[in-house]
């Protein structure tokens, strides 16, 4: 596919430039000026056709089932988009005074309250722009908490099944990561954990349900163990969808958590963002939240900066407001019953799909799953690998599952159907997966050379990395 720069024609323009008669401005010294720009000269129709063609080479939730494990690719209701396009929200400048921005502040305050009701936390900051940003802010809160207490604790514990963002966030706050092994049943190894937790451990981060799609049965015990030693318990909320309305994260003993609004609360992922990763904390950690926080006073809502124990500011303004707005709409529409229904159906759908696939695919940890489950390519015939299966499923009109994660399962295939897929869709997807297994037996080459029907064939990632070309040049 050619890039827009290759569609540039002499002197074309698509921008409706106003022709106002204005005096010359105060001059800028010539050495501070550029000598012209060289971007693009394309007409509006050229541009519209170009990006329409690009969109047709993309696969989204609206295109088809997107069982990308750990990413919760549920349907993104259209009402979210309509509300997020209201000029009263899109056109509001972030430094408009509080009198001009009461509606926006009410949304931020309101969403924090809704998230507290769902998780049992005391308050949420909506400043983090993505899950990893929320995690980073969370680890900063942990650092600040111990700093204020005058305790020096240098270690944060992370299970071997954790997302890579966990250790990376820990490292960005100057803590050392120590890995906690899992048992063969996919729970944290309590015996090992007991031997590691000491006065130097600041916290443990646990994804709940974990990245194997399992609820760690030791969760309350881990909380007690950590709290006994004065350490904090962080919940990576990437998989919160499974717990919606069933259990509140705070009740399990977690002290702080982040939520991915673009996973659990239906805001679109945008081809890699903008997401939103609100950070929620319990009473004791509330003073450390990033500034500003939105408070409600006698005369309306305001941004509060006077918080001496805060970790400080973490965003240019207040986070991804228009994303938070969509999540607010979603929760408002579902209410208590709808939220619980989403969580329950997500778990029902995953278990049903697992029941359809378990005869044909290896299930490394055999337990009732939550919202997702992990298979792998062990015993696949014909030398077919996980990557081959992921590429072949694209030919059947589905997005691929998450592959090669979590790292502790070799050749992992992580499937998360979400609650918005129907029974028929789950069955059709299972049939496709089983058909691939049959192909691996009878004609493995078809699988190994897949995909065959996508806009481009298998992409050479090795060449891309060996000879990096990161911008277009004529």
């Amino acid at each position: 596919m050619p890039v827009i720069f290759e569609k540039s024609g002499c002197g074309r323009s698509a921008y409706p430039m106003p022709e106002w008669k204005l005096d010359d401005a105060d001059p800028i010294p010539p050495e501070l000026l550029n000598d012209g720009v060289d971007l693009v000269e394309a007409g509006e129709l050229d541009i519209v056709r170009h990006y329409t063609a690009l969109s047709r080479m993309n696969f989204g939730v609206d295109t088809g089932m997107y069982p990308l494990g750990s990413c919760t690719m549920k349907y993104n209701p259209k009402i979210n988009e309509r509300v997020a396009a209201l000029p009263g929200f899109t056109g509001l400048h972030p430094l408009a005074s509080r009198g001009l921005s009461q509606g926006a502040l009410e949304v931020l305050h309101g969403l924090s309250g809704l998230l507290c009701a769902i998780t049992g936390m005391r308050r949420f900051s909506l400043a983090p722009a993505a899950g990893a940003h929320g995690e980073l802010a969370g680890v900063m809160v942990i650092k600040k908490y111990f700093e204020k207490r005058g305790e020096r604790r240098g270690v944060i514990l992370i299970p071997d099944s954790a997302h890579g963002t966990n250790p990376a966030s820990v490292a960005m706050c100057g803590f050392e990561t120590r890995e906690v092994p899992s048992t063969s049943e996919g729970d944290v190894d309590m015996e090992k954990l007991r031997s590691i937790v000491d006065q130097n451990v600041a916290a443990m981060m646990l994804t709940s349900p974990n990245t194997l799609g399992l609820f760690d049965r030791n969760t309350p015990a881990i909380a007690n163990l950590l709290h006994d030693k004065g350490a904090l318990f962080y919940c990576d909320g990437a998989n919160l969808n499974a717990l919606l309305g069933v259990v509140r994260v705070r009740d399990l003993g977690f002290d702080l958590m982040h939520i991915n609004l673009h996973k659990t609360f239906s805001t679109p992922h945008g081809g890699g963002g903008p997401g939103s990763g609100p950070l929620g904390v319990c009473d004791e950690l509330e003073p450390y939240l990033p500034v500003p926080v939105v408070l409600k006073g006698k005369d309306g809502f305001h941004l509060e900066y006077d918080r001496p124990d805060s970790i400080g500011r973490i965003h240019s303004f207040y986070g991804n407001f228009l994303v938070a707005l969509r999540a607010f709409v979603y929760i408002s529409m579902l209410g208590s019953e709808g939220i619980r229904d989403a969580g329950e159906t997500a778990v029902l759908n995953a278990n049903y799909l697992l029941s359809l696939l378990r005869k044909d695919y290896n299930l490394p940890v055999d337990r009732a799953c939550m919202h997702e489950f992990v298979l792998n390519d062990k015993n696949m015939p014909g030398g077919v690998t996980t990557n081959d299966i992921a590429k072949r499923i694209l030919d059947f009109g589905y997005h691929a599952p998450t592959v090669y994660f979590p790292l502790l399962i070799p050749g992992a295939i992580m499937i998360e159907p979400t609650e918005t897929e129907t029974r028929e869709m789950l069955e059709a997807f299972a049939e496709a997966m089983i058909a691939i297994k049959r192909e691996a037996e009878t004609s493995p080459e078809t699988v190994k050379t897949a995909p065959h029907t996508t806009p481009v064939g298998r992409v050479d990632a090795v060449l891309a990395a060996r000879k990096p070309v990161l911008k277009w040049e004529p």
Binding site: Y404, A461, V462, R466
Partner: protein
């Protein structure tokens, strides 16, 4: 089964070392290591002149989805590195014991070689790891 030449010494981290003369040696990663990594896309080499201890990390080898540290099998001073790998990391896949060599080292204590594995021991080691 990967290729394990008889005339080299090996580490448990899958580096090889070949004596060029009494004091200098050439090092690289084994055929088994390159197979495990799959297509190698980037190599970060040490600076010549660097003093290293045996077992110290001296280089990094990357595939599309993995990063692997390379450790010096012995102590000494890095005397030369294979710059050809910077433009053509695929040499490590095609000829790990020849054109894909990584660095030369002036050994401080050639006796350290005695602590390394011979071909048979290394073959048994990777067998036990798999």
């Amino acid at each position: 089964m990967s290729h394990i030449p008889d005339d080299l010494k090996y580490t448990k981290d899958s580096e090889w070392i070949r004596m060029d003369d009494e004091f200098t040696a050439t090092c690289g990663i084994t055929d088994h290591a390159q197979e495990m990594l799959t297509d190698i896309v980037f190599v970060e080499l040490p600076e010549p002149g660097m003093e290293v201890a045996g077992g110290e990390q001296v280089a990094v080898v990357e595939s599309v989805k993995a990063v692997s540290n390379v450790y010096s099998p012995v102590s000494g001073r890095i005397s030369e590195v294979n710059r050809a790998l910077e433009g053509s990391p695929e040499l490590l896949n095609g000829d790990p014991y020849g054109e894909g060599w990584m660095f030369k080292i002036e050994m401080k204590a050639p006796r350290e070689l005695d602590g390394l594995m011979d071909a048979a021991a290394y073959a048994a080691h990777i067998e036990s790891e798999s």
